[in-house]
Symmetry: none
Subunit: 217 residues, 2 copies
């Protein structure tokens, strides 16, 4: 309740398995609040495994622990948690720690490095896309679209998700518009012969293939 009053959207899950499902199902989770003791596996294990997987490696994590003992804290931080809160804690403290962590990670994301998928290179700093020594000219929307795909190669994005990620989750734009921008992105990628990397997943959305090689026959 405190978090929602602070403007956050909260999804609660009861088990480690449910947490994994929620995390892999959506891409809209900005931060995880993990209890030390959880049914179906310890929170520590969950944190450790989240840090191993590429998709959740940078996910900000705050651990909740009942005991504020030194060894617990360092174990949690070693496992990969970014911060911890020991019970009992005030709602105010929780909110301010979450906001602080979100602020920190937002800054870090801004310094993100160049992306590479196959022979495709995207540099967020210079706002440029290269492939095979050739610069790919892109409009702003196509750039963000490609960046979204390159941050999560091999992952299928639905049109809805792309609208959220690229256009922002408060815009009301027809889903078919995404098709057109995919088309334009493919056209721009065609001279470099990497347009086939953007695959259509019928009934689901689009996906960027991680490998450049063409295994389509």
């Amino acid at each position: 309740m405190s978090l929602e009053r602070a403007g956050h959207t909260v999804t609660g899950v009861a088990t480690v398995a449910a947490a994994r499902t929620a995390l892999s199902a959506t891409d809209t989770i900005d931060l995880a609040l993990v209890d030390w003791m959880l049914p179906g596996g310890s929170g520590l294990e969950l944190v450790r495994s989240l840090r191993k997987e590429e998709q959740t490696r940078r996910l900000p994590i705050i651990m909740l622990t009942a005991r504020a003992e030194e060894e617990d804290i360092s174990a949690g931080l070693d496992a990969g948690a970014d911060d911890y809160i020991s019970k009992p804690f005030s709602p105010k403290e929780l909110v301010s720690r979450i906001n602080a962590l979100l602020r920190r990670t937002r800054d870090q994301l801004a310094i993100s490095d160049a992306l590479q998928v196959g022979s495709l290179f995207l540099n967020p700093q210079s706002h440029r896309v290269y492939t095979n020594e050739l610069e790919v000219p892109l409009g702003h929307t196509e750039f963000k679209l490609l960046r979204c795909f390159m941050m999560h190669p091999e992952r299928v994005f639905s049109r809805d998700q792309l609208l959220d990620q690229v256009w922002g989750n408060d815009t009301y734009i027809g889903e078919r518009t995404v098709d057109v921008h995919i088309l334009r992105l493919r056209k721009s990628l065609k001279p470099a012969k990497v347009d086939k990397m953007l695959e259509t997943v019928r009934g689901a959305g689009y996906r960027l293939r991680a490998t450049t090689d063409d295994s389509s026959h």
Copy 2:
């Protein structure tokens, strides 16, 4: 241990006096990590005095504080600390903040040197810009603008960022003003035929191309 694992060499001292000794004895200290509470004087005092002496005026300082209260933070920053970390913090956070601060100060140190991008030369000392044996006359604003671009070639600066960097982050000036100064800078660069280096990145801002060669047709 985390810092040494990250490639840093760490020297620990127990008192304010020992810190002063270490700092004046060697010239190899790149950054100071100062606790708020110290034996033999508060960390705040130490920071304040370090800022007074010429030898340590530019030393990057990070403060450690147990309480994340607003007043402490602003007091530390007012005293002259460049950043602060509130306990508890993760080793990862410590390392990344230290690296970030070192990166920042390294950039600043470069200000004293002459800058070169392609055939463009900018001398901060003499406040002059040369290219192809030709001096480029610039107003003060255009000079700072160009310096900003030359310190980070290939990087896209939004109008907002340029207003922060060139005008200062407390001025309230219309974003379109940046356009006009870009225009004037281009006009000044035109006689030397390097005006094409300043590229417009639609929807994002402006960028200085690192290479002089013109691949625009």
